[in-house]
Amino acid sequence: MKKLACLMVVAVLLAVSMIPAFAASGINKNEQELLNYVKTAYVVNGTTITVPQEYMTALENVFANVDVTDAQYKEIKAILDEALAFCKSKNLTEIDDITKTGSTQTLLDYARKALAVIGCTLATKGSLKDADHGTLIIYDANGKVIAELHPAIIKSGKSSGVVDKTGADYTSAAICGVSAVAVLAAASVAVKKFRKENED
């Protein structure tokens, strides 16, 4: 789960770089800004938290095949700002914190949003039981693989995974149920009166 969580962080970053443009583009100014942002923006209690260099390299490899325009850069940066604010609110300083705080789905959701901006999608492959055999795959709009993110095959301890409690509020359903019974009661009382009268 730890490795899969790490991959999700990368997926957010990689996701933002996918656009269906096939110019041989290199790393342009906007992409350099994004790389710097990822390297330097997350500061917690004076410490800069960043992803491992290998993941930055993976991002560079993908940026080399795409072009991020100014408009897309702004949109992507907005998503990254949101994701960053979320990470700070959960005080995520290590990869393990992602699963401990149940933040996996939210981070993945940011990745999906960033992908959706540029017409790409995320899918899972491999084993759902063991995260070390699980893979996140990013596809372009034509269903072609852009990147497969899988961890090294490491035997890790099984974790139980924290699931957020939604704390569902059943007030609306209760109100609906009470009103149904009230109508039934009112109608039951009125039945006698209705039956006294002749009807057409």
């Binding site: 041989a24 290199g26 080399a64 899918a123 609906c176």
Partner: protein, 230 residues
């Protein structure tokens, strides 16, 4: 006693309400369901967006190999700019690799997964491509393409042909490192010097599930520099 016109009005009324009321019930019913189920549905909506998309087993293309390599370019020095060649995409065969003193002579593929590893030596996306001035991580199976890698000796030449240039490396060091020991190769992979890192499972000739990897670290002798930055 009712007149005929009153009876007809009553029939029309029934027919009219037979159409209108069920539709009204449908709309009100669905609105009520959504209102009552919203607290449960809200967290599920983001899961729905994640879990359902247009990409899945039926629609996704298998990451096969597309070859962008058409033989040696003959470019052995100078600078190759980003707009002068096709940067390899995931699954592309973009070159060939040979190692002196071994039988290694196989395709070089960008990206690595189960099916790509069956088709050649795979360049990890967590490292660079040749010419970028940093670490290049290349792995292959020990019972196929990299079976003879442990025979590579210090000083042996490694030739890498790509779709944008010809590179020559020299074996500097060989090591056996545990697969979990990132520190064994991290410095070379993320360093400022171009280093070709070849690896395969070790030992190669025993039937064993091994945590060890045989690493070959190679320094750059010649080859063009790649400029990826605009």
């Amino acid at each position: 006693m009712r007149t005929n016109s009153e009876k007809n009005r009553s029939k029309k009324g029934y027919r009219k309400y037979f159409i209108i009321l069920p539709v009204v019930f449908l709309i009100c019913g669905y609105i009520l369901f959504f209102v009552c189920l919203t607290p449960i549905l809200n967290p599920l909506i983001s899961v729905y967006s994640l879990a359902f998309s247009n990409t899945n087993s039926r629609t996704a293309a298998e990451s096969g190999t597309n070859s962008i390599f058409n033989g040696s370019t003959g470019i052995r020095n100078g600078i190759v700019n980003y707009d002068e060649f096709d940067y390899p995409a995931y699954g592309d065969i973009f070159g060939k690799i040979t190692v002196e003193g071994t039988n290694i002579d196989c395709n070089l593929i960008f990206g690595s997964n189960t099916s790509l590893l069956r088709q050649g030596a795979c360049v990890s996306i967590y490292g660079h491509i040749p010419g970028c001035g940093s670490g290049i991580l290349v792995g292959a199976h020990n019972n196929t393409y990299f079976h003879s890698l442990p025979r590579a000796k210090e000083g042996a030449t490694v030739n890498v042909e790509t779709n944008y240039g010809s590179f020559v490396y020299r074996v500097k060091e060989t090591k056996i490192i545990k697969d979990t020991d990132r520190q064994g190769y991290e410095k070379q992979l993320n360093g400022d010097e171009e280093t070709l890192i070849l690896y395969t499972c070790y030992p190669v000739d025993t039937l064993a599930s091994t945590p060890d990897r045989f690493f070959v670290f190679c320094e750059l002798v010649s080859g063009p520099k790649v400029n990826m930055f605009e």
